[in-house]
Symmetry: D2
Subunit: 337 residues, 4 copies
């Protein structure tokens, strides 16, 4: 860490900072400059608790030069993590396609969608049984009945299941049925939920919060891993910006950024990332081209009849096109499908 002193700081103020740093058991390295002095700090194992330093007289700013994450970082685990979900591997050579409705539909419809997803090349089936909704009056999902439908989909199709958990108690229920627990964007910093997900030992997919930095997403993963659970997948699903032509702005640069810093797999969600059905195929291609380890796409045999999010849900036909186009792109990148 670096302490930047004010240009008006006296040498006594600089001395006081050096002393405070020493008292923390760390080493201070003053660097006198033309206008002001900076003081480097070394010897810290974790990030320096900067509370005391920031408050000292004459201090202008503190600059952290070490990344705050540990277990999720490549420094501690240089190779890519490959998460094996009962035979489906995420983060390896394969690009994994996940599809299904926004909300779990009644059994017959859900099964019909699942069979089509599988036929098109999908490996994981998505569907929300518990839906976090802005309005208390909106449809909130089928609940445990939805989980049972998902379990039946797995049994009949062999697809793996991903579905969202919305609070720690609810997570224990969800974990009984699903292969992958989804932590939704609104809950990315619901730390109780992240800890519960860590303790569950299940594979966890964490979606980036709609105004979270990528570093905060990595720190959310650190919460899960700090509980001893290494089975973590990240998901870029768009962030909130001033742009008005899409529901969110899909930030594809997050993917190479994560790849450079973390060993964890990361998939893209172009459905929420655009919120516009007509754009999903184009952004799916872009996501695979940029290096995503998978795609999660809202899909329905009759999107117009979907229980929620119809406007961003694609048809099976579009899903098949996406599968075909992204497979070709994956091959260019030396990946399979």
């Amino acid at each position: 860490m670096l302490v930047v002193m004010k240009s008006t700081a006296t040498s006594e103020m600089v001395e006081a900072v050096v002393k405070a740093v020493s008292e923390m058991g760390l080493k201070a390295h003053p660097i006198p400059g033309a206008n002001r002095t900076a003081i480097g700090i070394t010897g810290n194992k974790a990030q320096v608790n900067d509370t005391a330093l920031r408050a000292l007289v004459g201090v202008e700013d503190l600059v952290h030069v070490t990344a705050p994450y540990k277990l999720v970082g490549r420094d501690f685990h240089p190779q890519d993590s490959v998460v094996d979900v009962d035979g489906v591997t995420i983060g390896g050579k394969e690009v994994v396609l996940m599809g299904g409705p926004c909300s779990v539909e009644p059994l017959e419809v859900t099964l019909e969608i699942a069979r089509a997803v599988k036929k098109a090349g999908g490996k994981v089936f998505r569907g929300g049984a518990f839906k976090p909704r802005t309005s208390p009056y909106s449809f909130q999902g089928l609940g445990e009945d939805g989980l049972k439908i998902l379990a039946q989909v797995r049994q009949e199709t062999g697809l793996k299941i991903i579905t969202e958990a919305i609070d720690p108690e609810n997570l224990r229920l969800v974990a009984k049925y699903t292969d992958i627990i989804q932590i939704g964007a609104r809950n990315m910093q619901n730390f109780s939920l992240l800890k519960a997900a860590g303790k569950s030992g299940k594979t966890v997919m964490i979606k980036r919060g709609m105004s979270s930095t990528v570093d905060e997403l990595l720190m959310a993963a650190e919460y899960v891993m700090a509980e001893g659970n290494n089975r973590v997948i990240l998901c870029e699903r768009g962030v909130r910006t001033f742009a008005a032509h899409t529901r969110n702005t899909l930030d594809l640069s997050a993917i190479p950024y994560v790849k450079a810093r973390s060993h964890l797999p990361i998939v893209a969600d172009p459905s929420h990332g655009t919120g516009v059905r007509e754009m999903v195929a184009a952004l799916s291609r872009a996501s695979v081209a940029v290096g995503a380890d998978g795609l999660i796409i809202e899909t329905h045999t009759s999107p117009d009849k979907a229980l929620s999010d119809a406007f961003q849900t694609v048809t099976i036909g579009t899903f098949e096109t996406i599968a075909k186009e992204t497979e070709d792109i994956a091959q260019i990148l030396g990946r399979s499908f």
Copy 2:
């Protein structure tokens, strides 16, 4: 609601929309235009479920013209709500000052701060016992011990207590000790937590999420009120933008916006709203001038020794200045302190 048809939509497509609307038990009013047709929808009691409509061939866009909130809106409750917390009224003529440390400190320190807050004119004491932190390795609060310290503060000073709950189970514990349950910015759309807060019957203060619209904040309050709990206070605490000179951008326009649409009280948090100690007094003045019903300010007798957030915590001296300056401004607006 209004359905906007594409300029290429045929009259058959328009007819199909009219028919679909009728089948929903609503009334359709086509408005043919020079370039395209729009179709007004009336007769709906709640917001129209637009899933089916958006998906019809020829539909360009749907425009909702009714606000989605009900219980929080002035249409249903024209007068200002005044929340009475055991004698301290929020939302009435009085501007209420809340102060205290970011995290609850050890008893002696906490009491010392509380006495100073009270002497300066504060009515409510703040302090986090459970802290949601970006890093799992950061200090997470004193837990139930912190709650006990807060209860003792109330007993010795008569100040009301506000402290944060972070999950539904935790909320039950927090509710046993506190006067006001705080729902933090990261949990504004943690709907399980909001429902639990509603069921508790306690006064609840909801902080605006860091990338939430004001309408989403109002919908979060709707979740609490839908459980039969009318004791809700809102809090503007800054939003995330590209601006780099503050930790968040305090969006003071949220206050007159809320006042125009909702009967609920709203306070401002200039500590998180700026993240910079030196700016807190200036933004406190602005908050009261814009019409806030109160201020919540991180305060410490020795900010430099605070357990967290030292860089945005003001001294008791600054807190007293804020009290004095904002009281004068409150009087100009015909309010007392």
Copy 3:
């Protein structure tokens, strides 16, 4: 357009709006609703001047349902525009690669880069002679000497030239030397400059402003086309958001959005779109995969010695890799290179 009345509006207020609309020579269509009345307006050729209406008593909101652009829209020109720059076509089947340094370098270096760009498959050479810089003390470009170097590059390599103009007077000078005039992001709403670009008759590439909506970008193009100049290319180069891991957030959804609404070609700039050298190749692949008509990439034989923007400038080796990878992706989309 639709006028939404307040729920408290009386029938007299509704009548007043209907009357005002009639006096504008337009037709009003009242749609009474359960809670409030909306009034559709038809008969307008351009967007309704809503000043008078918005101010009438009882009016809650105005909703425009017609896009504000005309010449840039597909309604008026359904087929894709293909801009032919002296044999290099942009917006057709071909994906066009543009490369070169941020600032024009001395002649020998510039020529060396240009030959490498051409060899790798580039068709257009970029380089700034006039640089808009945040600080008046930063290097501002070689000026007319830079333009002369660019002209020599064209003569010796056959590459087309693109370079930025920064004010109307300067544009007249730039137009004498270049094939394509670039309007930079900071000048996207410099309407005097856009008009001058329109009058020049030269091909114009307009970069999206760093906080401009895509509709505003299209309106900037409308300024150029309104002067009778149809030779317009758009460019997505990233927008400003809270995200901290990149200099800008490349908003690739802008590309399918523009393609759906406008006939104009659009290229992507992954150099400014990320600001990070290591991410340029990945986002280049994504840009072509999403449907961009070309790429403009900061390239240098020795990026570390570049006169500006070194941290986002790629080597010739990376440029060649990008050319190869994006050509493969272009072919999947049925495009050539």
Copy 4:
């Protein structure tokens, strides 16, 4: 400046950076750390040109610790600048009220507004003769006729005049008529225009760009001052964010931030800062409370008939209320009106 090395950097790489720094005539101070080395740089007079350094092998990041501005900074001019516009002082004890229509109206209407502005306590009259508009088909202002009307307003009322210039040539015309030249938000980084404003020697008010940081605003002022013109006023007018309830988000924290770093006066524009007529009075109070040196407010005797921006233009009655309320607040802060 500080160079942060990668954790994998070898001592040879560190040596290479030290050598490069020395070759720039500067001094390098390596600070070896537990995980990585940082290298402090001192001796630089201006900001270090970091191009060469950033590109060296093993360099992770560069951190600038010196502010990039010089003439606008308090380091070089500790006292507040007071700009005297022919007897009206901005930046001193007085809070200056500026009012008038968005666009200059016909003479009689303009004069009527001006007299009312003066009577309410206004000192400066605003009105656009040249209007930068998103659409080429929108009303673009009265042009030089508008400037002549403004000159007549000054003659008849004694009010000072502020009006916008939109390109360097246009600025020469505007400068002949006006007391203060306004540089609009869209042109904040139109550096040709800023230089022309600097050369004019006239008082210049620079509005913050809608996605500009406050530091970029200060750098825009540096452009004007670098031409030898110290007569600069800044203006906070709101920035673009995801928030939907206002046209822009008025960032009042910019005002104490500027005050701490720069000697230049700064005023607030709550009309553009909200875009909503009903919010202007509340945000005017907040602006003066936070420390603004003045307010610029769109005002009209009949806002509903204004040539542009009617929805954010207040009546004379509201303008008078604002004058009264903000005068009271100014007095609390020890300022006059």
